[in-house]
Symmetry: C2
Subunit: 87 residues, 2 copies
Protein backbone atom coordinates (compact mmCIF):
# COMPACT_ATOMS: atom_id res chain seq x y z
CA UNK A 1 0.00 0.00 0.00
CA UNK A 2 0.98 3.61 -0.46
CA UNK A 3 1.12 5.84 2.61
CA UNK A 4 1.54 9.53 3.36
CA UNK A 5 2.52 10.16 6.98
CA UNK A 6 2.53 13.58 8.62
CA UNK A 7 3.49 14.10 12.22
CA UNK A 8 3.24 17.04 14.57
CA UNK A 9 5.12 16.29 17.75
CA UNK A 10 6.76 18.28 20.49
CA UNK A 11 10.21 19.56 19.54
CA UNK A 12 11.79 17.19 22.06
CA UNK A 13 10.49 14.20 20.14
CA UNK A 14 11.00 15.42 16.57
CA UNK A 15 14.38 13.74 16.17
CA UNK A 16 13.08 10.35 17.22
CA UNK A 17 10.01 10.58 15.00
CA UNK A 18 12.07 11.67 12.03
CA UNK A 19 14.42 8.75 12.48
CA UNK A 20 11.55 6.32 12.88
CA UNK A 21 9.60 7.48 9.83
CA UNK A 22 12.73 7.47 7.71
CA UNK A 23 13.20 3.81 8.50
CA UNK A 24 9.89 3.02 6.83
CA UNK A 25 9.12 5.79 4.34
CA UNK A 26 10.69 8.46 2.15
CA UNK A 27 11.07 11.92 3.56
CA UNK A 28 9.54 14.54 1.29
CA UNK A 29 9.11 17.64 3.38
CA UNK A 30 9.64 18.84 6.94
CA UNK A 31 7.45 16.32 8.80
CA UNK A 32 5.95 14.62 5.75
CA UNK A 33 6.81 11.16 4.46
CA UNK A 34 5.48 8.93 1.73
CA UNK A 35 6.09 5.53 0.33
CA UNK A 36 5.07 2.01 -0.45
CA UNK A 37 4.81 -0.09 2.68
CA UNK A 38 3.20 -3.36 3.64
CA UNK A 39 0.34 -3.28 6.18
CA UNK A 40 2.54 -5.28 8.57
CA UNK A 41 5.43 -2.83 8.32
CA UNK A 42 3.06 0.09 8.75
CA UNK A 43 1.59 -1.47 11.86
CA UNK A 44 5.13 -1.91 13.18
CA UNK A 45 5.83 1.77 12.53
CA UNK A 46 2.65 2.80 14.34
CA UNK A 47 3.58 0.67 17.36
CA UNK A 48 6.99 2.34 17.46
CA UNK A 49 5.46 5.79 16.99
CA UNK A 50 3.13 5.19 19.91
CA UNK A 51 6.14 4.52 22.11
CA UNK A 52 7.63 7.88 21.17
CA UNK A 53 4.50 10.04 21.13
CA UNK A 54 2.69 11.73 23.99
CA UNK A 55 -0.97 11.27 23.15
CA UNK A 56 -2.12 14.58 24.66
CA UNK A 57 0.34 16.61 22.70
CA UNK A 58 1.52 14.81 19.57
CA UNK A 59 -0.20 13.54 16.49
CA UNK A 60 0.55 11.37 13.51
CA UNK A 61 -1.79 11.28 10.54
CA UNK A 62 -1.66 8.51 7.98
CA UNK A 63 -3.32 8.65 4.57
CA UNK A 64 -3.45 5.23 3.03
CA UNK A 65 -4.17 4.28 -0.52
CA UNK A 66 -4.12 0.85 -2.05
CA UNK A 67 -2.33 2.23 -5.05
CA UNK A 68 -0.03 5.25 -5.48
CA UNK A 69 -1.54 5.79 -8.93
CA UNK A 70 -4.76 6.94 -7.29
CA UNK A 71 -2.91 9.95 -6.00
CA UNK A 72 -1.39 12.67 -8.07
CA UNK A 73 1.40 14.60 -6.37
CA UNK A 74 2.32 18.17 -7.23
CA UNK A 75 5.20 20.06 -5.65
CA UNK A 76 5.20 23.84 -5.75
CA UNK A 77 8.42 25.61 -4.87
CA UNK A 78 11.35 23.85 -3.31
CA UNK A 79 11.52 20.13 -3.92
CA UNK A 80 13.49 18.08 -1.46
CA UNK A 81 15.10 14.77 -2.16
CA UNK A 82 12.42 12.16 -2.28
CA UNK A 83 14.75 9.24 -2.48
CA UNK A 84 16.41 9.25 0.92
CA UNK A 85 14.92 5.98 2.03
CA UNK A 86 17.34 4.52 4.55
CA UNK A 87 15.68 1.13 4.79
Amino acid sequence: MYVIAVYDVNEKRVGKMLKLCRRYLNWIQNSVFEGEITPVKLQEMVVEANKIMQKEEDSLILFKSRDARWLDKEVIGLERMSTDNFL
Copy 2:
Protein backbone atom coordinates in the same frame (compact mmCIF):
# COMPACT_ATOMS: atom_id res chain seq x y z
CA MET B 1 -11.55 16.39 -6.19
CA TYR B 2 -10.05 15.61 -2.82
CA VAL B 3 -6.79 17.29 -1.87
CA ILE B 4 -4.22 17.05 0.89
CA ALA B 5 -1.99 20.12 1.07
CA VAL B 6 1.16 20.35 3.15
CA TYR B 7 3.33 23.41 3.25
CA ASP B 8 6.76 24.13 4.66
CA VAL B 9 7.44 27.84 4.50
CA ASN B 10 9.66 30.29 6.32
CA GLU B 11 8.25 31.36 9.68
CA LYS B 12 7.64 34.86 8.32
CA ARG B 13 5.17 33.51 5.79
CA VAL B 14 3.43 30.87 7.90
CA GLY B 15 0.58 33.16 8.92
CA LYS B 16 -0.26 34.09 5.36
CA MET B 17 -0.10 30.50 4.14
CA LEU B 18 -2.27 29.28 6.99
CA LYS B 19 -4.87 31.92 6.23
CA LEU B 20 -4.79 31.13 2.53
CA CYS B 21 -5.11 27.36 2.90
CA ARG B 22 -7.91 27.74 5.42
CA ARG B 23 -9.89 29.66 2.85
CA TYR B 24 -9.91 26.63 0.58
CA LEU B 25 -9.42 23.54 2.74
CA ASN B 26 -9.88 22.13 6.23
CA TRP B 27 -7.01 22.42 8.65
CA ILE B 28 -6.13 19.05 10.15
CA GLN B 29 -2.69 19.42 11.63
CA ASN B 30 0.08 21.99 11.94
CA SER B 31 0.70 22.74 8.26
CA VAL B 32 -1.59 20.07 6.83
CA PHE B 33 -4.95 20.65 5.16
CA GLU B 34 -7.45 18.47 3.37
CA GLY B 35 -10.72 18.80 1.62
CA GLU B 36 -12.94 18.61 -1.40
CA ILE B 37 -12.12 21.33 -3.88
CA THR B 38 -12.79 21.97 -7.53
CA PRO B 39 -9.82 22.05 -9.92
CA VAL B 40 -10.56 25.73 -10.59
CA LYS B 41 -10.53 26.63 -6.91
CA LEU B 42 -7.35 24.64 -6.39
CA GLN B 43 -5.68 26.46 -9.24
CA GLU B 44 -6.74 29.73 -7.64
CA MET B 45 -5.20 28.63 -4.35
CA VAL B 46 -1.94 27.70 -6.08
CA VAL B 47 -1.77 31.09 -7.80
CA GLU B 48 -2.26 32.80 -4.44
CA ALA B 49 0.29 30.52 -2.77
CA ASN B 50 2.84 31.38 -5.43
CA LYS B 51 2.44 35.05 -4.55
CA ILE B 52 3.24 34.32 -0.90
CA MET B 53 6.00 31.73 -1.30
CA GLN B 54 9.69 32.22 -1.93
CA LYS B 55 10.57 29.47 -4.38
CA GLU B 56 14.12 28.91 -3.08
CA GLU B 57 12.98 28.41 0.47
CA ASP B 58 9.34 27.37 0.67
CA SER B 59 7.40 24.42 -0.56
CA LEU B 60 3.81 23.32 -0.94
CA ILE B 61 2.96 19.73 -1.74
CA LEU B 62 -0.44 18.73 -3.03
CA PHE B 63 -1.75 15.17 -3.13
CA LYS B 64 -4.78 14.95 -5.33
CA SER B 65 -7.29 12.18 -5.58
CA ARG B 66 -10.41 12.07 -7.68
CA ASP B 67 -12.30 10.60 -4.77
CA ALA B 68 -11.75 10.84 -1.00
CA ARG B 69 -12.91 7.22 -0.69
CA TRP B 70 -9.68 6.10 -2.31
CA LEU B 71 -7.85 7.33 0.73
CA ASP B 72 -8.17 5.98 4.21
CA LYS B 73 -7.19 8.39 6.96
CA GLU B 74 -5.95 7.32 10.37
CA VAL B 75 -5.11 9.72 13.18
CA ILE B 76 -2.83 8.55 15.96
CA GLY B 77 -2.66 10.67 19.08
CA LEU B 78 -4.13 14.14 19.28
CA GLU B 79 -6.89 14.87 16.81
CA ARG B 80 -7.52 18.47 15.96
CA MET B 81 -10.75 19.88 14.72
CA SER B 82 -11.20 18.90 11.14
CA THR B 83 -14.21 21.03 10.52
CA ASP B 84 -12.81 24.54 10.75
CA ASN B 85 -13.45 25.38 7.13
CA PHE B 86 -13.78 29.14 6.96
CA LEU B 87 -14.97 29.29 3.38
